[in-house]
Subunit: 109 residues, 2 copies
């Protein structure tokens, strides 16, 4: 609609799909080749590759080719746009309700 950075868009959109979130979350347990990721879910390997491509384009994961496998792992910095987006309204939250302050304590106790 207007002033939204492309990367921010990509991150939000990548995480909007439950399958991609599940894949992303599963990579939290550690890097894994595509075949292993595929085995964890009930969708086809191409579907997984397509999701990974989108996560990668959003900067949320990276893939490293080793032999005939491609190992994917999470890129924590990829979440920065998401965190920045929330942080952008910190002043508002605290001024109006102070609710976020409590929530943030859960994050950084």
């Amino acid at each position: 609609m207007q002033t939204t950075s492309p990367i921010e868009n990509k991150v939000f959109q990548a995480l909007a799909d439950p399958s991609r979130r599940a894949i992303f979350e599963s990579l939290t347990r550690g890097e894994a080749p595509v075949r292993d990721i595929t085995a964890r879910f009930s969708i086809s390997q191409p579907a997984v590759s397509q999701h990974l491509a989108q996560l990668k384009d959003a900067g949320l994961v990276i893939g490293q080719k080793r032999g005939r496998s491609v190992y994917y792992r999470v890129r924590p910095e990829g979440l920065k746009p998401l965190i920045d987006w929330i942080a952008h309204y910190r002043a508002f939250w605290t001024d109006h309700l102070g609710q976020l302050e409590n929530l943030l304590k859960e994050l950084d106790p």
Copy 2:
């Protein structure tokens, strides 16, 4: 795909659309009736109402009828699922890279 709470899904999906993020962000400036929100963007009033309905269903905004207007405002607690989702992996972030710690300092300085 699997174990994703419905509300979490709704929040992520609601924020995935740039128009809805823009509307949500504009409500950060304060409550506003639908007509005012509509005036801020270049989409029709029904489109705005549909976006607001989805944001409301996700718990991100609430609407209050006053006269013939409906004033919408942000519901900060609505972002909790988003923050919880990030926080859920805090241990992972800090254990592996410690990157998120720095990011969090931006949030709660």
